[in-house]
Amino acid sequence: MSVGTYSLPALPYAYDALEPSISAQIMELHHSKHHQTYVTNLNNAIKTYASAVSSNDIAGQIALQAAIKFNGGGHINHSLFWENLSPASSPDADPSSAPLLIAEINKVWGSLDGFKAAFTKTLLGLQGSGWGWLVKDAQGLRIVSTKDQDPIVGGEVPIFGVDMWEHAYYLQYLNGKAAYVENIWKVINWKTAETRFQGGAADAFKVLKASI
């Protein structure tokens, strides 16, 4: 069985492009070290998994599932995250770039501010490492939180995610995670969010296909 190899996607902007919301030092470590480690460990896990499949080693396959979920989730989450951020100076960072999504948000939460308050509450309520996501499913828009690197793979469409692992903000904000959340609103890529809102789950994950 031949297996694909996943690779670290290039960022669509420079490491310092999200300053002052997120410092260049954080972005560089987060992308070139943390994300890279998920990619490396994912590739190792699926290679071992493939040989467990070809040798009919079911116990070996089961034993690898946690590593695949964690590292595969880390790769998926970070890939989606980079794309749903944008330099604050870009028109993409303006909510007016997402007219259809904002209309739906207004319907569900009353206003963009009402939505932001609900999303912020979810982010700050996480106990430990994890993510907050705005997702779309058959019922409409929802805010969900996921622990560690659990990915959104239950059929929902991830619209945008915010990384609440301490490595995402600690060098700049220390224990002040509320300030990180406040500032990340300035660099949300609403254009990407609008595109994902109009598409399906498969579209959102397109960037993630392995290269052989």
Binding site: L29, K33, H34, T37, A66, F70, Q127, G128, S129, G130, K147, D148, Q149, W165, E166, H167, Y170, L171, L174, N175
Partner: protein
């Protein structure tokens, strides 16, 4: 666990002015409530350098641990209020917060005590009965360190690794706990190592293996031995 609460008399608001009265005389007009407080460290913030730097220690103790203490007190308060109204559903809804903040307070309190400055109680090797037990259950002190570091590296997210003693058999083992879940039940926590990123990130960034290998230089084996022999 009760040792983690310092009992403080809390006066009913209307009686604050008479706080000078002897406690016994006020028995009928006060209630006593156990309130968690941030314990002092037995060493300076910079005392664990170069293994853990002073900035990390200060933030970790005065900010992170303090937040768990505050969260624990609010959870307990909310439970007491709900209980007074016989609102058991609201009391039960506090369980995750109680576990998270209560665990955070317990874990960090144990952690500070099982660390000490290198050469002043920290580092070196376990001795006596503890060392004998480690040799029996792990093969060697080196094997214990290896097993603990592998457990720490394997934590997927935030959490802790603990050297524990099984209360029934007395056997030692290494376990991990997610987030702030405390070690409970039949396991006695002897040595805890915080694997949350806030415990090392300012100094080690993504190189967490370096933190896991450095922390052995500041483990207080005297504390661990005392917990083991209890």
């Amino acid at each position: 666990m009760s040792a983690l609460f310092r009992t403080a008399p809390a006066l009913r608001a209307g009686l604050r002015a008479s706080a000078a009265k002897p406690i016994a005389a006020m028995a009928s007009t006060t209630f006593v409530r156990g309130k968690a407080t941030l314990p002092d460290l037995a060493y300076d913030y910079g005392a664990l350098e170069p293994y853990i730097n002073g900035t990390i220690m200060e933030l970790h103790h005065s900010k992170h641990h303090q937040t768990y203490v505050n969260g624990l007190n609010s959870a307990v308060e909310a439970i007491e209020e709900a209980k007074a109204k016989n609102d058991l559903a609201t009391a039960a809804a506090q369980a995750p917060l109680l576990n998270f903040h209560g665990g955070g307070h317990i874990n960090h309190t144990l952690f500070w005590e099982n660390l000490a400055p290198n050469g002043k109680g920290g580092g070196g090797e376990p001795e006596g009965k503890l060392l004998t037990a480690i040799n029996e259950d792990f093969g060697s002190f080196d094997a214990l360190k290896k097993q603990t570091n592998a457990a720490l590296a394997g934590i997927q997210g935030s959490g802790w690794a603990w050297l524990v003693k099984d209360k029934t058999s007395g056997t030692l083992g290494v376990v991990t706990r997610l987030n702030q879940d405390p070690v409970t039940g039949n396991l006695e926590p002897l040595l805890g190592i915080d694997a949350w990123e806030h415990a090392y990130y300012l100094q080690y960034q993504n190189r967490k293996a370096e933190y896991f290998s450095a922390i052995w230089e500041v483990v207080n084996w005297g504390t661990v031995a005392k917990r083991f022999e209890k």
